[in-house]
Symmetry: C2
Subunit: 319 residues, 2 copies
């Protein structure tokens, strides 16, 4: 159905009925001037992400379901990167006239499926007409006992990452080459696995954060994101090329095209792994890739050669 | 300076240094994955608004300063409409390549001036490139002891509004007729006063909310917004034409063009007055315009004639 038939308030009512939650901590949800929740003494976490058609996604390559999933997943990743638990989501949508109410429904199915995984409740939002393509603007509210920032890494800490890197960037490349949406991921070929990493990232929390000294999620690429920890902590870092975790799927696909998988792993964005620092003797299943040092940023290659690295990857506005 | 020179992280650093706050309740502000604040036992309020160039504003008619002011003001109005106090703001910006860093600086001056009025702290945001004009997406976090919703009005309650209505809609009309930005408001002619009501709304809280039974802010127009209270509270309303507060400025400008000022007051949006219901004998300086009834929605004209009204005004998507 066309949105012009049901109007803004009809759309909000549809969304409200789908997001209804009988949770006793929600005092008012969607449909009032603001959402109200019960707060407890502690630490509140707030993160916000905008996704703009043309800049962040291409509707000819992603389904509304996948987009809804990813929209919430990237926000959840930010809360996990602070050591927090995601609680409430506010979804703002700028919707072009060409969208149908079925498209928005599918988008919400994706949001709600991701929400269920983390027991996140949708408590509000804003919907309006966009003359400029689809705009998603989400705010996720979380909570945490210990808040883990970027500015607290110490020289001597080891550097860990929770997932293989570069998969999402290669997935995007394969998706663009295919030139069309991928709706299902059964059969799980290396190609499909990589595309899935790009379209439907699955954030995963670290259970025991007690000894972690700093953390960030890898959204812009390892070199940039590790650079943020260095900048904010005012120290340096050293990483080992042969320790950077590269998936078999990425290695296979890169071999086909003669590309270097490490280029993807070092500079590719949107993996939404957690990159953290902690004492060397911590017990973790994460990949240990290097250590924090007093000063400078270096990669050591397999021959033991040390090369400085710059924060290369994706940055908005920069030419 | 062009944004391409300073890049995303340069821009974030500029914003961070301007928004720095030494408030002890802010554990981490701009520049981490999420902002963290100390929370206390009580009620947390969350509201989100998107403003899109072309849909919500026209950069040939509003300065970046005024836009920043209004961006935060409309969010503050939502928190006040819940009986809350605004605390923290997260400003998301989708910025077209044509914007300069000076434009964004001016936008932040407007945001910060409005923030100072209410002691709101800017704790985070997201900046990214937009291929589609300027996009502002704000989330405001507030707190309150008593939360006032739309669904708690009772038959017999009187209806009040805190400001004259229709000024903003007439201001927009005058602004469009002028066809250019208005930078200063000194001299305060009726025309300038109305334009200022549109460009730089000044939300104002109600100090004593103890006896208020329901509340909303007038953003879509009186008839629509009162309609929301009726819908949510599942009762009706009766308003008196001659009680609707119309400013002298609106009356003067409407007379010039032969328009009916009441049309502006009933259907014009963006006044950001507070519309509330309360027992008839409440002490307030707000204008009393009618009362809630069991069923139906009516306007009584000066001759005592009763006409049903519909929720007319501005609604996105509807044709």
């Amino acid at each position: 159905m066309q949105l012009s038939k049901i109007g803004e308030f009809g759309l909000i009512n549809n969304i409200r009925s789908r997001c209804k939650s009988s949770s006793p901590d929600i005092l008012t949800g969607i449909g009032d001037d603001a959402a109200a929740v019960k707060t407890v003494r502690g630490k509140g976490l707030f993160t916000s992400d905008i996704m703009i058609e043309g800049t962040h996604f291409d509707l000819s390559l992603i389904t509304f379901y996948q987009l809804g999933w990813k929209f919430l997943a990237v926000n959840i990743s930010d809360i996990l990167a602070m050591g927090g638990r995601p609680d409430y989501f506010i979804a703002g949508l700028g919707i072009p006239a060409a969208c149908s109410s079925g498209d928005i429904d599918e988008l919400y199915t994706g949001i709600l499926d991701m929400a269920r995984t983390f027991n996140v409740k949708i408590i509000g939002g804003d919907t309006c007409l966009s003359g400029h393509g689809l705009i998603l603007s989400g705010t996720l509210i979380g909570s945490g006992k210990k808040v883990i920032t970027r500015f607290t890494a110490r020289p001597g800490d080891a550097i860990f990452v929770t997932k293989t890197l570069g998969d999402s960037a290669m997935g995007l490349e394969l998706l663009k080459k295919g030139g069309k949406k991928v709706r299902g991921f059964s059969g799980s070929t290396p190609r499909l696995e990589l595309i899935k990493r790009h379209l439907m990232p699955e954030p995963a929390p670290i259970r025991d954060t007690s000894r972690i000294t700093s953390m960030i999620d890898t959204s812009d690429g390892l070199l940039i994101d590790l650079g943020h920890i260095c900048d904010e902590s005012n120290i340096g870092a050293l990483i080992y090329k042969d320790k950077i975790p590269v998936s078999e799927s990425l290695a296979k696909e890169a071999k086909k095209t003669g590309e270097d998988p490490l280029e993807f792993a070092l500079k590719g964005g949107e993996d939404y792994a957690l990159l953290f620092t902690a004492p060397k003797n911590i017990r973790t299943r994460a990949f240990r890739i290097g250590e924090m040092i007093e000063d400078g940023r270096y990669i050591i290659d397999t021959a033991g050669r040390k090369t400085p690295f710059k924060a290369e990857g994706y940055e908005h506005f920069k030419q």
